[in-house]
Symmetry: C2
Subunit: 200 residues, 2 copies
């Protein structure tokens, strides 16, 4: 019975299919997953010197990525709508995710955010879009968003992002096994789960 | 019975496992593969402004890539030795590949170059390393390398690289189906073959 840390960022396109399939895949593999939201912006800046998504910086790669993610979602039977705004400001959603994960409803919240953003094309950078997701899970959006804005929670997200950097993470999604193996990309999820189970 | 263009560069690490497995995979899928060597340097420069391998430009990504390719080769039971020189000058090898592919021994030559470079860590930027590969295939290295240096063959490689750019290729390996679908990366080979067979 292995464990796997799932490092993700709500602005990351490839984190969407990963977030939607990691639950059932990990369950059949008998692997326990720890969801670790972080902010990719400071990581891109520190590791690569990027101030924007690489898909905006490199247009040929960007055009390819949108087509690739569309094909991946079709194969996975996931709805996909290219958001008008990309990348999105994910600060509110990431802070709420930390609170929700600590309270046991975080995985549903994360899937809800991804579905809103990439399944319906909403701008989850708007607090009311985050509130809609919280509301759909039967929670009080005002109370939760308020709680996510405490200094302790802001610090927790900053510390988690710094930890991602210390671990050598440079993109999302990333997966890290208990023995420190790093796997990058939705297409490495199966390999990461196998490694977590000692079958690497 | 589909067809697939396999665009590769000898300096590309991920093109190595792709080149070694595309033959049998395409055969069982009933797909005809056209091997298309090109030079990644001009493509990286035009599409991304890079003057070096991204794995050298971005050290965290580079460290990850070497570990990832090591794991992939282990899973594929391919020998892997990290070459002392990276990326390598692949001009001689790419020009010879065009000649060899036109003469029907090109796929063996390409696999031979990849095995020398990433399976045994040789510097295939040296003409004598390329000569060893030609020799092992029972051909005359001097005559072949001489032939590869004609203006017509130099132009053919330049034209092929320009075609890669026109097709939107930004990295290697890349796969393009007859209906124009682009797939990037060794990890997209299966999807590209399925698409070539109309099962995309």
């Amino acid at each position: 019975m292995g464990t796997l840390d799932f490092w993700f960022e709500f602005a990351s396109t490839y984190s969407y299919p990963a977030a939607m399939r990691i639950g059932p895949l990990a369950e059949s593999a008998g692997v326990t997953v720890r969801w670790r939201p972080f902010l990719l912006g400071p990581v891109f800046k520190a590791q690569q010197g990027w101030e924007d998504s690489p898909f905006n910086i490199y247009p040929a790669k960007g055009r390819y990525m949108w087509r690739d993610i569309e094909r991946i979602c079709a194969a996975q039977k996931l709805p996909f709508v290219k958001p008008a705004v990309f990348p999105q400001n994910t600060l509110v959603a990431a802070r709420v995710a930390l609170i929700a994960l600590a309270q046991g409803w975080g995985e549903d919240f994360c899937r809800g955010i991804y579905s809103a953003e990439f399944g319906r094309g909403r701008d989850i950078g708007e607090a009311f879009a985050v509130a809609d997701v919280i509301n759909a899970l039967g929670r009080n959006p005002d109370a939760v968003i308020e709680e996510s804005r405490t200094q302790a929670n802001k610090d927790a997200l900053r510390e988690q992002t710094e930890q991602a950097l210390r671990l050598g993470i440079f993109g999302a999604p990333s997966f890290i096994t208990a023995d420190g193996e790093l796997f990058w990309g939705n297409d490495r999820l199966e390999a990461a789960l196998a490694w977590a189970n000692g079958q690497g």
